[in-house]
């Protein structure tokens, strides 16, 4: 809010008078320096160069001409949770503890999301079926290390971090800090984004529903579909039953529209239209405990079959069920100013497209909503920004380029089947991010600098490498139940004859005695096994292309010498070559037939490869940036700018 608008509002709003009196008289005594950092996930330097050349990113070009343009050294592996943790802590994975999207507990061999965890209460009061939590329990951020902005907060410099990745739950409230969690924030079901699809089309209903649930519904002749929307599990009741609400969808097949009734609220949408955000209330204990959430409906089709999509049920920023901002009122404040928004960390519903629930047009309409919301949030944050550090994160370039790389890659197995209408999607997205850069640049003056950076670049994902199948084929792992090869979590393995296994997007682990549940490799044999694996994988050849799928196999103790590795760390990181990535099956421990196959998923771009192939971008108004900068250095550079170099002294 501009100061003039604020004063005008203060005169007219009694509540604002209190706010004004609280804000008046505060003088910081600081220089009032300002630094806007735009964190654009996945912004590729080669594409930026190409789009600047074509005149699609005029503001970015102007920024480059004011200061500099560099390739930004990314993390190893170049995955967003790892890379942003490098940025936040200024340290490598052994310090912040994030090595992949997925880690595994060696004691149980169960995989888990590396960013955050929800822990149940230590003790509960049991009254019949009631389970009232007494102590412990909550959400924990698994990233370790000290964030760079702590230095700024200690010096009294304001810090605003909006949609910050790997920061859920946000840090404790600080009078100079405003935080809104980004990547890693779950939906209310606790997943990373689980859609619900209501349909009377039996062909849509399959077992392969990763990313969401498909609910069969039926019209009994009155034009009404009764749809049950499942919310979170109710931890206050024995057995944690799922809480749900009932939604009635009244269809008019002539006008091709549906009226959705939920509680007192109603909305009408036509085919291919989105509802606004609708409020869901899941009652855990009558009116005493209610989980508030929001979701948007999309009427995909009404005839011949009824197909109604419901977005993942997001945490309501106006009434959050889990901590998503610090202070807790910040998310509400933003939502009231900029409108409701996706709070989940991965808002674009890539799974709905991968599973065929969305077609390309459906997906882009949803992705467009996400970007518009983000722009609105950015505008709101920018208009009230006064001084200190402002970090704002955009997710659109990453997830949409993952899905549409095939539209600009003639070598993609899906290039021929992708409608040429979508060939300009990626260029359009970059130019829209350029608009945000332009808005930030309007604030440039002698006390304001801008940094535009990304965590990694991009490469095509044409061929899938079944790492586990390769290990089995080469004798590093033993399959005892071949018919379970396609099941996750190493269901087919005989651990007593397995020396190594792959999990996550780049992780390769030794089945180490004393660490793994069924470990067999002794500490003495471990090094030679890793070296054998390195030789073997780096010399593997794709029989179709003649290329080597693995560019580098990094042995972690060599890559990060001198660090004590936590037990969840992988022993090696697979640095895939351009065009290759770990197969979908590898990520959760399956062993499909064949080692290298075409990637037929719309998810056709990747950055989970060798880090030297996909550096990030760094474009800034700041002059005299160091040569060959890396993500880990950025926090210290930011602090130095805002503290006039005190950071370096």
């Amino acid at each position: 809010m501009k100061r003039r608008d604020f004063l005008k509002k203060a005169i007219l709003t009694p509540a604002a008078i209190a706010a004004l009196s609280a804000g008046c008289g505060k003088t910081t005594g600081r220089s009032g320096k300002r630094l806007i950092v735009l964190g654009v996930d996945g912004m590729d330097p080669s594409l930026v160069e190409s789009f600047m050349e074509r005149g699609l990113m005029p503001n970015t070009r102007r920024l480059k001409e004011m200061g500099s343009f560099n390739r930004l050294g990314t993390s190893n592996p170049p995955q967003s949770p790892v890379a942003w943790s490098n940025f936040i802590t200024g340290a490598p994975p052994p310090v912040h503890g994030i090595f992949d999207f997925i880690h595994r507990d060696p004691a149980t061999m169960m995989p888990y999301l590396s960013i955050s965890e929800v822990t149940p209460p230590d003790s509960t009061l049991n009254l019949g079926k009631l389970r009232l939590p007494l102590s412990g329990g909550g959400v924990n951020l698994l990233r370790r290390g000290t964030p760079f902005w702590d230095t700024l907060l200690d010096k009294g410099i304001p810090v605003t971090m909006v949609k910050l990745p790997v920061d859920f739950p946000p840090p404790a409230a600080n009078k100079n800090g405003l935080f809104l969690s980004g990547l890693g924030t779950p939906d209310v079901r606790g997943s990373q984004g689980s859609f619900t699809f209501f349909t009377d089309d039996p062909r849509s209903i399959s077992d392969n529903t990763g990313g969401g649930v498909i609910i069969p519904v039926r019209d009994y002749g009155d034009g009404c579909y009764t749809c049950r929307v499942d919310g979170p599990a109710n931890s206050l009741i024995e057995g944690n039953p799922v809480m749900s609400v009932e939604v009635k969808a009244w269809v008019d097949r002539e006008s091709k529209a549906v009226r959705i009734d939920m509680g007192d609220a109603s909305v009408v949408i036509g085919e291919k239209q989105w509802s606004p955000w609708m409020h869901f209330s899941f009652s855990a204990l009558g009116p005493i405990s209610t989980v508030h959430a929001i979701g948007r409906f999309y009427l995909k089709e009404i005839t011949p079959k009824f197909k109604l999509y419901l977005s993942p049920i997001n945490i309501d920023p106006e009434n959050p069920a889990l901590p998503i901002s610090s202070p807790d009122w910040y998310s509400r404040d933003l939502a009231e100013d900029a409108g409701l928004f996706y709070t989940q960390g991965f808002p674009e519903d890539t799974k709905a497209l991968s599973r065929g629930i969305f077609d390309d047009d459906d997906y882009l309409s949803q992705a467009n909503i996400v970007l518009e919301e983000r722009m609105s949030l950015f505008h709101s944050v920018l208009s009230r920004y006064q001084e200190g550090l402002l970090f704002f994160y955009f997710t659109s370039l990453d997830l949409n380029v993952h899905m549409f790389y095939r539209s600009m890659d003639p070598a993609s197995p899906l290039y021929g089947t992708t409608d040429p209408r979508f060939s300009g999607v990626i260029a359009d997205l970059y130019s829209r991010i350029d608009i945000a850069v332009g808005q930030a640049m309007e604030l440039l003056d002698d006390r304001t600098e801008i940094i535009l950076l990304s965590d990694h670049g991009f490469a095509p994902f044409r061929r899938s490498f079944n790492l586990n199948s390769y290990l089995a084929a080469e004798g590093f792992a033993d399959i005892s139940s071949p018919y379970e090869r396609n099941n996750d979590m190493f269901a087919c393995l005989d651990w007593s004859k397995t020396g190594a296994y792959g999990l996550g997007l780049n992780g390769l682990y030794i089945n180490q005695a004393g660490r793994e549940k069924n470990g067999i490799v002794t500490a003495d044999d471990k090094r030679s096994l890793m070296e054998n694996l390195k030789t073997s994988l780096e010399s593997a050849v794709d029989p179709l292309t003649g290329d080597k799928p693995v560019k580098n196999l990094f042995i972690l103790e060599d890559t990060y010498p001198g660090y004590q590795m936590p037990p969840w760390a992988p022993d090696m990181l697979v640095g895939y070559s351009r065009g290759y990535r770990a197969s979908w099956e590898t990520t959760l421990g399956a062993f499909p037939e064949g080692v290298i196959t075409d990637n037929m998923d719309p998810w056709s771009g990747t950055h989970c490869i060798s880090p030297d192939i996909c550096p990030g971008s760094l474009i800034t108004s700041v002059r005299n940036m160091p040569e060959n900068p890396t993500l880990t250095e950025m926090g210290s550079i930011i602090n130095s700018i805002l503290t006039d170099g005190e950071e370096d002294q």
């Binding site: 709003t13 509540a15 604002a16 209190a18 091709k256 529209a257 949408i269 606004p276």
Partner: protein
């Protein structure tokens, strides 16, 4: 009632709606305490309160004598019932203006004015058959959804955005969500008329022939007070109570 409230709120037309809401709440609080004074037996309440005070004191003084304490406690409980009986009549009388005031405030302060960012939904309930297939276009809004017709229950619904939604149903025009000036009644629908509609649902217009009622779902309004969001009813309840207590002190009303 509508005219009375229009007059009362005239000085607040150009200010934030919260001022008008607080003004009516304060006025209601003071007025209700006056009604209470006039309709209650002030002498009896005063005597009863003294009696209850003495019983409480007696309980403290005779703590060593359980039978006396029990007897006094029983008396205190009975006095409470008598006290509630004394409150009943004034409370019943106060309920009538309370409901009327609440209806007026609901009509004026419970909803946001229509705006381009919010999707509002209207449902028309026809009497015996659906006469109009299409509502007219909104005057200054955009009809963004097709019209859903539910033949079995004679309902039609549609959604729109816009700052001013004038719709034509058959021969009737309905101006939804008009908010000018601040504190004026925002029309939310229509229903069959009569005293109930006029007094208790001032936000509804008189429904035309062939239509049972028209309902709209528009954006609810919240007020920012002390760092949290309050609905209009909470604001009314809190501020009228505060002013009622102040009024009781100032006008020496025994409550």
């Amino acid at each position: 009632m509508n005219t009375l409230f229009d007059l009362l709120l005239k000085p607040f037309q150009s200010l934030d709606p919260l001022w008008g809401l607080m003004w009516i709440s304060a006025l209601s609080g003071v007025m209700m305490i006056q009604v209470f004074k006039k309709t209650s037996d002030q002498q009896a309440i005063s005597m009863l309160r003294r009696k209850m005070g003495s019983r409480a004191l007696g309980m403290l003084l005779f703590l060593e004598s359980p039978p006396t304490v029990l007897k006094l406690a029983f008396g205190l409980i009975m006095d409470n019932f008598i006290y509630l009986w004394h409150l009943l009549k004034p409370m019943l009388i106060i309920t009538i203006p309370f409901i009327l005031i609440a209806a007026q405030l609901d009509a004026r302060y419970s909803r946001e004015p229509l705006n381009a960012d919010y999707l509002s939904t209207v449902t028309v309930y026809w009497e015996s058959s659906i006469l109009s297939g299409e509502p007219g276009e909104p005057e200054a809004g955009t009809l963004i959804s097709p019209v859903v017709t539910i033949a079995d229950s004679l309902e039609q619904s549609f959604s729109f955005t816009g700052s001013n939604g004038v719709f034509v149903f058959g021969a009737m025009g309905i101006d939804l969500g008009s908010s000018e000036p601040t504190g004026s009644i925002m029309i939310r629908g229509a229903e069959k008329g009569g005293i109930v509609q006029t007094l208790l649902h001032p936000w509804n217009m008189e429904a035309p022939a062939d239509i049972v009622k028209i309902e709209s779902f528009t954006q609810e309004k919240n007020y920012h007070i002390f760092g949290s969001r309050w609905g209009w009813f909470t604001v009314f309840l809190v501020f009228s109570s505060v002013w009622a207590i102040l009024g009781a002190v100032i006008f020496k009303v025994k409550v």
